[in-house]
Symmetry: C2
Subunit: 267 residues, 2 copies
């Protein structure tokens, strides 16, 4: 796989658009998140408004559940939820899947336990049901989603999570996914686990402060491999068929969440 990447041409890589790129600044470093276009536009717009209003400057990671998610939001003040910035909708109708039609999918040529068809759209893992004509982003490691209560419109983007463990694909089509962590996942996965229910930090435990979440201004140092390229297809095939001498069983199978889309960051 390293030889496939070494042979990649400059044009196989893209820099994410600054307006689709979030920099989440933690005391430990910066987590870079790319927003996906076309899957959950309304809640993404809501998040965009929150970021522009610097809403997340008061946020903290308040949940870290082993083999599941790290989650962040703005803690209530004196038990009262913090007011959302002007222009932010308190509720957003569910955007858990979308029409398959209109998507340019790089199919993986294999189904999996959770979906009949899987592949990539613009660098993001997707799954689909061709009979229903629907498609959705898939809960692979590093995907970022919108926490919600029981009401399906209750996820407004003020509470976000990243998948830090084995892919919880049962969440697919039950929550809006909005993007994925391109860089800095280890800053989230190494956070202390919360000892409360579902990994929430107890009052005695220190939530991890988030200094800020901002849009990137210059993304030229961030390069994501284009999933529509021959290089990416070769990479998938190299993951499917393990040519390396070490592998006595060449596998000949690959599942969606075992294909991280390569990212290079020049710090």
């Amino acid at each position: 796989m390293s030889s496939v990447l070494a042979a990649a041409s400059e044009s196989d890589w893209r820099s994410p658009a600054p307006e689709q790129t979030l920099l989440m600044d933690l005391p430990q470093g910066t987590v870079i998140i790319e927003l996906a276009a076309g899957f959950a536009p309304n809640v993404t717009d809501n998040i965009r408004t929150m970021i522009e209003a610097r809403f997340f400057d008061a946020a903290s990671v308040n949940r870290s559940q082993d083999n599941y998610v790290a989650q962040w939001s703005v803690a209530p003040q004196d038990g009262i939820p913090v007011a959302l910035p002007k222009g932010v909708h308190d509720s957003v109708a569910a955007e858990f899947f979308r029409p398959l039609k209109g998507l340019d999918v790089d199919w993986l040529d294999s189904s999996d336990v959770y979906a009949e068809q899987v592949g990539f759209v613009g660098g993001f893992p997707v799954a689909s049901n061709s009979a229903a004509g629907t498609a959705w982003l898939a809960h692979c490691y590093g995907m970022v989603g919108v926490g919600r209560d029981v009401a399906t419109d209750s996820g407004n983007g003020a509470e976000l999570y990243a998948v830090t463990g084995h892919s919880p694909r049962h969440l697919d089509r039950n929550v809006a996914l909005i993007g994925r962590v391109l860089h800095g996942m280890e800053l989230l996965t190494t956070l202390p686990r919360g000892s409360g229910q579902m990994g929430f930090y107890e009052p005695s435990e220190q939530p991890v402060p988030i200094n800020s979440i901002r849009f990137a201004t210059d993304t030229s140092g961030i390069k994501v491999l284009r999933t529509g390229t021959d290089t990416f297809r070769q990479l998938v095939e190299a993951r499917r068929y393990r040519a390396d001498e070490w592998f006595v069983d060449k596998v000949e199978k690959v599942s969606l969440c075992n294909i991280p889309v390569p990212v290079k960051v020049n710090n």
Copy 2:
């Protein structure tokens, strides 16, 4: 799922046999590992001899690769590999799979991308190929395996790893798995990632010392749900069909590595 577990009877739980239970003492706490019987007996015996000789008291975690594995071994002294204790074999013939015959498998009634049949044997996730008549432990989160070089007999148990990320099922049938972490996974998953190739710690980074690995003497405070019980089958069905009101899509699918076998530990 919590209601299924709450209704479990005392006899649905078992304490692992002390001679199958390892206590890996780290400065941060204790990782409890249960050894699987019947899959890799020779390398497991080798490890047993090493533990009895207190070989791992000089060990450290020297590799932590994000979304993959944490790995430990005894570092060479002045560039010279540390001698193995008396009675430990330097090489062990591959035990990457075994005959399916003779195994009492609690089947999951679903295949997955990597195997035609999957299920559980004595609390461990297994996969099988009925045509070939073979079965093997599956690389789910928390499984513990035997690091090896290119030679298939080079894994002698002196270098072990635990899966800390999305299941690397492509390693199935390429490495011997010997058990799984019952408790304390977060002590391994929260370790700083190594900045060297494949997550190895660089000389400038501090390997995480292992104080000792010992067999447990009293396991009465450790309870693992028996996978052959109705309670476990109900738990699997509750994971397959998500009755909870929160789930608008009830899923109706479940994959092997999304079924952690429940463990209770009284500290």
